[in-house]
Amino acid sequence: MRDEKANRVVVITQHRSVERHARRSLVSAGFRTESLSYGDELKPLLADPPAVWILDADVELPRLRQLLDRIPGGPLTRCVLLAYNHQQDVTLLEDKINNLVGRHGGASASRSLIDEHELVVTCDKLCGGEVFGLERYLPWTASVHDRQIDGTRTKRHAVGELESFLEEIDCDPWLQPLVAQVADELMLNAIFNAPVDRRAGAPKYRGLQQAGELTLEADEHVELRYACDGRYFAISVADRFGGLRRSDIVSFVGTALRGERRRAAIHDRRGAGLGLFMALTNVTQLVFNLAPGVRTEVIALLYIREGVRGLQSRGKSLNIFSTHGGKTPHVATRES
């Protein structure tokens, strides 16, 4: 059980419906929740800040930036930008915020629709709860499949197994290749970009994607896990190096969040960019759990309940969590 202070969440929104929605979810999950409007006096809160700030994204950008600048702890303090519309300015991601929770229901929805479970899990992780594991995003009934990947051959075999599972659960046939592609890209990224030559401290296989087959050393294996609850298909890919940096994520996903198209990077020796970009294009939620130098886990969730159309109309969320020594730091660091 968290103590009272570590449990305190403030929701800042102009919309009573958003406040009610967030309060209902958070109070039910045991959070002490307060609400403010953007025009309210902030001084008492700044003197005694909450554990998590939840800011409704439906406000003019300068006003949002002004508020972010006043929050103690500076950039990347524990702030959740709620009901974020991926058509909005994503520059906030670059230096201000780690957690963008998507506005679901599409651009035509008359009010913000929040995925309650996503909001609660995000706040819990920011308040010191367990960061790693796709189980956090699914109910306990979802059975998790687990595979060790030792190179490109086992990657293809694992993607084949995943495709069989998608067929077994009668997933929409046009969603199946999208889900499989996300798993494929996340594994390619982990296989080719994560392993580091420990002595030289340099990436070992980066830029070798075009060379074809690769077999990893025993201590470089990648872990693939996946599960489905009927609403979401969740895929987790973890490596044992923890080399993925926040700055890399921001540069890879910024263009995808803005809905931009990207030129195929045939000779891009960094390699990871195109794959992560292709993965994010198709996902509903993308979660990066970073334990620098120890472990990186990327979790992708795809909304599969309403076919391709449902997936495409859903908002996109991006969450970056950093841990140090297994604990979430009060202020997430910006690795450079």
Binding site: W174, A264, L274, M278, R309, Q312
Partner: protein, 164 residues
């Protein structure tokens, strides 16, 4: 199926290149025939999945083919290929997209199917391409519904011509 099978078929003055499987790290940039006199059509209906390594190899291959052939058209593009057309700027090189396979769903029995949609040159209104009058292949009910967002599925049409 691992990798991608490639078959060259000659006929009616058109060389058709039929691809089936996955465009991934096993996709080899094909050696082109010594002579390519007429137009070339690439049929990608049976391409199921594409990954980033496959994208890079595909673009290299297609650029070579577009340089050598009189003209290149992509026909019956599978949903995976359409996704790449909408995601990757230079995915079609200078080829023209002549037709796509569009995903439809039956509102009655939830069955899915693909229906070929021709893209006349200078098509500008994506919703005009989709007619919800087809019958379900499983239950026979008329009125299959397009299982995508027209402006999104055909977004590549907006930039056709800018890329070549």
């Amino acid at each position: 199926m691992d990798g991608c099978t490639v078959e060259w078929i000659e006929g009616d003055g058109v060389t058709t290149l039929q691809l089936a499987g996955n465009l991934d790290e096993l996709f080899e940039v094909q050696k082109l025939p010594d002579r390519l006199d007429g137009p070339v059509a690439i049929d990608t209906l049976a391409v199921r999945r594409v990954n980033s390594v496959g994208v890079a190899r595909w673009v290299s291959f297609l650029q070579l083919l577009c340089e050598k052939a009189q003209s290149v058209a992509l026909v019956r593009c599978s949903p995976s290929i359409v996704l790449q057309l909408n995601t990757i700027v230079n995915f079609r090189a200078s080829a023209r997209v002549a037709s796509v396979a569009a995903p439809f769903v039956c509102p009655d029995c939830d069955a899915s199917c693909l229906i070929e949609v021709d893209l006349p040159p200078a098509t500008s209104d994506p919703s005009s391409l989709i007619r919800d009058t087809h019958a379900c292949p499983e239950c026979g009910r008329a009125g299959l519904v397009f299982n995508e967002i027209p402006s999104r599925y055909f977004a590549f049409l907006d930039v056709e011509g800018d890329e070549a």
